[in-house]
């Protein structure tokens, strides 16, 4: 009983890590960029979700998620167009780009603290504290939302990447920017759209995570663990990111009990370093 409950919450947290990790991977593929602001975009999404709930009481939760995601995606689009693209066009080094995204992350998290305050916020909706009973198991009411969103987003991304012209050009741009530009794809637009999509997915993860815990400006630190998830599942691989998220989510939940809760924070990174030592390109890496 307890074991399956823990497994379930490991899966739920794993879903959150997965979604943020997918965002990391998308941006990495489309722009060759390690986006350290991804976790902070998730945090902003969660805060925007809070403002939506407070200002539009009665709006069903399944509408709050896409709405917050859309608003955050717009923010992501603006960030990509105004700050990241000029630097990339100048051919700035990886170091420079990583520092730039770190800076954007600092602005987002401390800006959020100024806008929404330093105290943690809790979504004032019943969902936050409700528990469902599924086959006699108590399940927090938000878990079905997480599972549904996860499935919908992964399916949606799959359709987007394989069936639509946007996805095809994004993939082309991601695989070979030069070829893509010959083929007439606007790399700048493709990059910005990828970044915006990643921000939106991150925001969805933030809104879904909020009812499990609370929203606070330092929530972006979850993003760093999600980054470990993306890396251990092979950065740039969408299925790899999903698997990586589950590995870290479940690993933390079960590992925290097996090892020692004092070192729970290190666990994600030790898992990552361990897996990379065995398989240097991650679980789903193509080259061995």
């Amino acid at each position: 009983m307890n074991f399956s409950l823990q497994l379930l919450s490991g899966l739920a947290v794993g879903c959150i890590y997965s979604l943020v990790a997918v965002g990391f991977s998308m941006v990495y593929r489309a722009m060759g960029l390690v986006n350290f602001a991804q976790g902070d975009l998730m945090m902003i999404g969660a805060f925007i979700g809070y403002s939506i709930i407070v200002n539009l009481p009665g709006l069903p939760f399944w509408l709050v998620v896409p709405l917050a995601a859309a608003i955050t995606a717009c923010l992501g689009y603006a960030v990509a167009q105004s700050a990241l693209w000029p630097a990339m066009q100048r051919g700035a080094s990886q170091t420079y780009l990583v520092l730039l995204t770190l800076g954007i992350g600092i602005i987002l998290s401390n800006g959020a603290r100024l806008v929404w305050g330093a105290n943690p916020l809790v979504y004032p909706i019943p969902l936050t504290h409700e528990t469902l009973r599924i086959w006699d198991y108590p399940v927090p009411a938000v878990y079905p939302f997480i599972a549904l969103t996860m499935v919908a987003l992964i399916a949606g991304l799959n359709v987007l990447f394989t069936r639509t012209w946007i996805g095809l050009s994004l993939r082309a741009a991601a695989d070979d920017a030069q070829t893509a530009s010959v083929m007439g794809v606007n790399h700048r637009l493709a990059s910005a759209i990828s970044f915006a999509l990643a921000a939106g997915i991150g925001a969805a993860a933030g809104v879904l995570y909020a009812p499990i815990t609370f929203v606070s400006a330092d929530m972006g630190m979850i993003g760093i663990k999600a980054f470990a998830a993306a890396v251990l599942g092979s950065l740039g691989s969408i299925p790899g990111s999903v698997i990586g998220g589950f590995v870290i989510g479940i690993g933390e939940t079960l590992g925290g009990q097996l090892v020692s809760s004092e070192y729970q924070d290190s666990l994600a990174f030790l898992l990552m370093i361990g897996i990379l030592l065995i398989k240097p390109t991650g679980l789903m890496g193509r080259k061995g």
Binding site: Y28, V34, A83, P86, A87, R90, A92, S93, Q94, T95, Y96, V98, L99, L100, L102, G103, I104, G105, I106, I107, L108, S109, N110, G111, R113, L114, I224, F227, A228, V231, L235, E262, Y263, D265, S266, A268, F269, L270, M272, I273, L276, L277, P280
Partner: protein, 333 residues
């Protein structure tokens, strides 16, 4: 008219490289070291305290600068190595009665060894290295907090002994400052010398294009190890001074935020510039003291400062200063 323009042209070119670049670096050295020695000592009091803090973070930033700015090895766990240096030095002085100079050397060695371990253990390149350095920082912080028997755990270490050099006990702030400023001056000079020769060029080549560096015979893996070890050793030296300033040592001084602050210092000052690292450290330590009323905006302002300086001054304050002085010289001609 045309000859003047031509002269101006060659002058501007000469200032960008070769012997005159060396001269320029030493001129910057003279100015910065001059300010370092004169300002805090003559103003005294709290300015001396600020000078102590600036000197420590300037040393640490220099170490990070050669790693990140020069050789392109982005480390997100720099504070961890300061922590290793701080604990090594304090525990040796306190528990084994080791004199400060030896403890300082041990701090540098311990941090260098940890850096080497990180670089060896995580023999990863690019993206993987970056996230691994972050993870390393987290792990070190957790060890410092949890290995209570050795480090005193999260309660920290107090009653830090005074620095003893050759039998003298340095108990005044001035004395401590002289030690720190000497260390900083010496390290800065050595790093300038290093940056001018073969090794410095190899570091820069490694940071700017790894494949090209390899193509001219630079043993990339070896130089990467070298620069990481060196950068971490310098962080260890900075760390060894920190508890003597604060008279207290706690793992909370070596968190991710401290690592981030060091990164902001070198970026704001100018990636790849040694004087930039020192200027950046001075700004990030001193500025908040004069903006105390806006304390809650501090990190927000740092973020804005970081992004704005990267977009507007890609070469940082040091780079902007250099091109400004070059422009002036052209006008003067």
């Amino acid at each position: 008219m045309s000859t003047i323009a031509k002269e101006a042209h060659t002058a501007s070119h000469q200032s960008t490289s070769g012997v005159s670049r060396h001269r320029r670096d030493w001129a910057a050295f003279a100015v910065i070291v001059g300010i370092l020695w004169c300002l805090p000592l003559s103003l005294g009091g709290f300015y001396l305290y600020l000078g102590l803090a600036v000197a420590i973070y300037a040393i640490s930033a220099l170490g990070l600068q050669i790693m990140v700015g020069l050789a392109g090895q982005l480390s997100l766990g720099h504070a961890a190595f300061m922590g290793i240096g701080a604990y090594t030095s304090v525990l040796l002085q306190k528990n084994a009665g080791v004199p400060f100079p030896a403890a300082l050397a041990a701090a540098a060695l311990a941090a260098a060894a940890a850096g080497l371990l990180m670089a060896q253990l995580i023999r990863l390149s690019g993206v993987y290295f970056k996230i691994a350095t972050f993870g390393f920082g987290v792990v070190v912080h957790q060890i410092l907090s949890n290995w209570t028997a050795l480090t005193g755990g999260s309660a920290g270490v107090r009653a830090i002994p005074a620095i003893g050099v050759l039998g003298f006990q340095i108990e005044t702030r001035t004395g401590l400052f002289v030690c720190e400023a000497l260390t900083l001056t010496l390290l800065y000079a050595l790093l300038i010398r290093l940056s001018h020769g073969k090794i410095g060029r190899a570091f820069r080549a490694l940071g700017q294009n790894e494949a090209a560096a390899r193509s001219v015979g630079i043993a990339v893996a070896r130089y990467r190890m070298m620069v990481i070890t060196l950068g971490c050793a310098i962080a260890g030296i900075a760390g060894a001074y920190l508890p003597h300033l604060m008279r207290f040592l706690s793992p909370e001084s070596f968190t991710w935020y401290e690592s981030l602050t060091c990164l902001i210092m070198i970026t704001l000052g100018g990636l790849g510039s040694l004087p930039g690292a020192i200027i950046g450290a001075a700004i990030l330590i001193v500025a908040p003291e004069y903006l105390r009323d806006f304390a809650q905006y501090k990190m927000f302002a740092f973020g804005i400062l970081l992004v704005a300086s990267m977009i507007l001054l890609p070469r940082g304050i040091a780079g902007a200063g250099m091109s400004l002085s070059r422009g002036k010289r052209m006008h003067a001609q």
